[in-house]
């Protein structure tokens, strides 16, 4: 049986962060919006009250809220001459599903990218010259817009999400205590920064004494009660430590559930179809526009949702996959170097440094998803790269996100056995007395890191899985080892002993070994249709009524988490749709 639904002005594929932001902007402007979400309805009060949320086994270990691989997985290989294999088990790929998407169980680290991050290609050439830039062998490209153009949309998303933090730069004036390296903000954060844990205060004091610039990171964990611009009330974070991978029962974590859905769901011009998966968009005969999306319900009934505008907000991987499955844009071919969909895949370069502090009580269970102090002295282009042979850098943070005992059971001094009485006494000694510094770094694109459809493996509906071809490139490795050395120096200075270093970029990439779930690129924005799939309004260059929003849009990754930039792109795209596109459908930028 085929369900033919009434036509909508806009159909949105996936109701996570980007989809919710989009739907809110578009329904407020009066458009009739249908969102299609393959997961179930989720709400704070009924799904993650405090009596349910504080459960590591269910939410973190078994990842009950994440998209299972049996629903959809990715295949992966390091190089083009290998046969890709499917990711069969839980890994670093942590996709959201259910209403709210990954926005329900993210940690809340709420970063803006720096002005440099958006113009890596041109600013590197300008500062270090053509010879150096060419010697890097990277596929660098600008985002096609500046930080200043994105700033109002960053501001809008932070107000909706409710973000605690301390500004470092308001309209060009450097602010004491904030991050002096950040791009100019139009105003301060909605709520003040969170408090320091014991470990954070040690990290702050040491880095300050070393001449660096520590600040409390911007957090989607609210430091105090707050009413957002949509009129939704949020409560203060209790530092419960059951944050990332978990929901928040206090309405304290920025999420579609807490910040947007209470208002969006009450709008008469909004409808959501849950437990319904979009298979692909369907184009009109002339191939210039899409007429809607084909979907299948949980019961296996297929259907069609006609719409004037198709917005794909299905998370980075699925955004690219849905474009390929729908024939929106030309698939990237790294050999002929043609096509744009799948191009500029990039990741996030991470390392961690753990030290042990004899007999000291860190009380690790006091935590928040985004509870951390960071220095940005070695992030982006904040330091001189002359003679270093690489570009980019990493934020270096002392963090207190959680004290989950199953997750930490191997976090013991080097050489401790993992079982028997030795493990028990080792864990009793070390659980409460260590601290970790995390380096979250940039990732730069290269020609042969890309996404395409896998020739062998299929999802449960028989459609090809996404295939990822990726390994760390030389720039990522060199950057990561340089920054990790800085973190080790800090750990020595704080006084940690038995230091453990985990530099993820010093071995081949594989999805089971990563600590970052930040996967970006593949459907990138830009000013040039030969190197980008979308213009800066996230509009397909080829099929002008298809908009694709997510971290898939990032031509390179910054030393930060992606979501606030995804949110800002969503606000910008939504406003372009209702202010300009619907009145005059067609390309918003001339190719």
């Amino acid at each position: 049986m085929t369900i033919e639904r009434p036509k909508a002005d806009v159909v949105i594929v996936g109701l996570g962060w980007a989809g919710s932001v989009m739907a809110e902007e578009l329904t407020r402007a009066g458009l009739n919006v249908v969102a299609i979400e393959r997961g179930a309805w989720r709400d704070t009060s009924t799904d993650f009250p405090p009596a349910v949320d504080a459960d590591e086994l269910k939410w973190h270990t078994r990842r009950t809220m994440l998209q299972p691989m049996s629903v959809e997985t990715t295949t992966f290989r390091n190089r083009m001459d290998q046969t890709a294999a499917p990711v069969r088990n839980w890994s670093a790929f942590q996709y959201g599903w259910n209403v709210g998407g990954a926005g329900t169980h993210w940690a809340g680290m709420s970063w803006r990218f720096t002005p440099w991050d958006l113009q890596v290609a041109s600013q590197t050439r300008e500062r270090y010259g053509d010879a150096f830039t060419d010697s890097l062998n990277l596929q660098l490209q600008d985002w096609g817009m500046s930080y200043d153009e994105l700033e109002p949309y960053y501001d809008r998303f932070e107000r909706i999400a409710g973000t605690s933090g301390i500004a470092g730069n308001i309209k060009g004036e450097i602010q004491a205590g904030g991050n002096p390296f950040e791009g100019p903000r139009s105003r301060d954060y909605p709520t003040p920064p969170l408090k320091d844990s014991h470990w954070m205060s040690k990290f702050r004091e040491t880095t300050q004494n070393m001449g660096y610039h520590p600040f409390t990171i911007p957090a989607g964990n609210l430091s105090q009660a707050y009413v957002n611009p949509l009129g939704v009330n949020m409560g203060p974070c209790t530092y419960c430590g059951f944050c990332d991978f978990h929901g928040c029962g206090n309405f304290s974590k920025s999420s579609p559930q807490a910040c947007i859905l209470p208002v969006l769901m009450r709008r008469p011009n909004f409808t959501v179809l849950t437990e319904t998966e979009v298979l692909h968009a369907v184009k009109h005969e002339d191939g210039k526009t899409a007429k809607g999306v084909r979907f299948v319900t949980k019961e296996g009934e297929e259907g069609f949702q006609p719409a004037d505008v198709v917005v794909i907000t299905a998370f980075q991987m699925d955004n690219v996959r849905l474009m390929l499955l729908s024939g929106v844009g030309e698939a990237y071919d790294p050999v002929s170097h043609t096509g744009t969909v799948g191009r500029n895949y990039n990741y996030q370069t991470c390392s961690s440094v753990t030290g042990f502090f004899d007999g000291e009580h860190m009380n690790p269970f006091i935590g928040g998803g985004a509870l951390a102090v960071q220095i940005d002295d070695f992030n982006g282009d904040n330091f001189d790269h002359t003679g270093l042979g690489f570009i980019g850098g990493a934020g270096i943070m002392g963090y207190s996100t959680d004290g989950r005992p199953i997750q930490r059971m191997d976090n013991l001094r080097p050489g401790t056995k993992r079982w028997g009485s030795e493990w028990k006494s080792g864990y009793a000694r070390d659980y409460g007395s260590n601290g970790t510094i995390f380096c979250q770094g940039t990732s730069m694109p290269v020609r042969d890191a890309y996404l395409d459809l896998d020739p062998t493996y299929k999802d449960r509906h028989g459609q090809p899985l996404m295939r990822m071809t990726f390994d760390w490139n030389k720039n990522d490795r060199d950057m990561c080892s340089y920054v990790t050395d800085r973190a080790v120096e800090i750990m020595r200075e704080v006084g940690g002993s038995d230091i453990i270093v985990d530099n993820q970029a010093d071995k081949s990439w594989n999805p089971y070994m990563q600590t970052s779930s930040h996967t970006q690129g593949g459907a990138v924005i830009g000013a040039d249709p030969t190197t980008s799939a979308l213009n800066t309004y996230c509009q397909s260059w080829d099929v002008h009524n298809v908009f694709v929003v997510g971290a898939s849009a990032f031509p390179a990754n910054a030393g930060y988490n992606p979501t606030v930039t995804v949110g800002a792109l969503a606000v910008r795209a939504a406003q372009a749709i209702h202010q300009t596109y619907v009145n005059n459908p067609g390309p918003l930028v001339d190719a």
């Binding site: 179930a40 309805w41 009924t46 993650f48 349910v52 949320d53 504080a54 459960d55 590591e56 086994l57 270990t61 078994r62 990842r63 299972p68 049996s70 992966f76 290998q82 046969t83 294999a85 499917p86 990711v87 069969r88 088990n89 408090k195 320091d196 014991h198 209790t238 530092y239 419960c240 430590g241 059951f242 769901m265 009450r266 008469p268 909004f270 409808t271 959501v272 179809l273 849950t274 437990e275 319904t276 319900t297 949980k298 019961e299 009580h361 009380n363 006091i366 005992p405 199953i406 059971m409 079982w419 028997g420 009485s421 028990k424 006494s425 864990y427 009793a428 659980y431 594989n510 999805p511």
Partner: protein, 244 residues
Amino acid sequence: MNRREALFSLGLAAAVAPLAAKGVKAEELNGFPTATAQNPDHLPVPARRGGEYVVLRDETDRNTVKAVFDRLIPADDHGPAASEAGCIEFLDDQLAGTYGSGAALYLEGPLDPANEEAIMGMPQFLSTPRQRYEIGLKALEAYAQTTDGVAFAALSPDRIDEILTGLEAGEIDLGPEIHAGAFFELMLQNAREGYLSDPIYGGNKDMAGWKMIGFPGARYDYRPYIDRRGEALNLTPVSLIPQD
């Protein structure tokens, strides 16, 4: 045979259940859902206590896993042994549910073991955790009978440690169907999960695992404590099991 039929024919119909856990049908929602009841699939499901074993029904299997778990986590000054803390009941309960049936895993072929292990950095399987225990425990028992002439559970603690060390290092061969190192990792993972997860799942009895390390459990508000610097807080742990 497609995957769905394969699952049913193996008697693992439960494997597809969690993907369809919520609601009866794909739903069209207009307006804010007004139901205020907690969603059953988001409530923790307490482990069955004191009843029949569901997966570890065979007594030899149960004795073997107990012998292994109690060397992985023995009784000592830091707390009870794994089995005393309920880790065998925990394991049985986990294997009887969606974890055991591999509901979240991608189990489509083809599988080229050498290529998948090389690319993924660890062995990959088309079998579920439950199936891996079923054949793994039998293989451990057969190994003890062959090498020592007694049941695995009758081996001395030192001898079990020796075998576990050999499995961990990948130096013991349990036959072509079993990746011995990966089976060791699976047992170690589950034993420690049982020791450290909320007691509602059958293990961590009296919150012994949490007391061992000083984790206060399912508390949800540390605002009174965050400003305290480096002090032992000595908080009594609490669990998700409601207190009378």
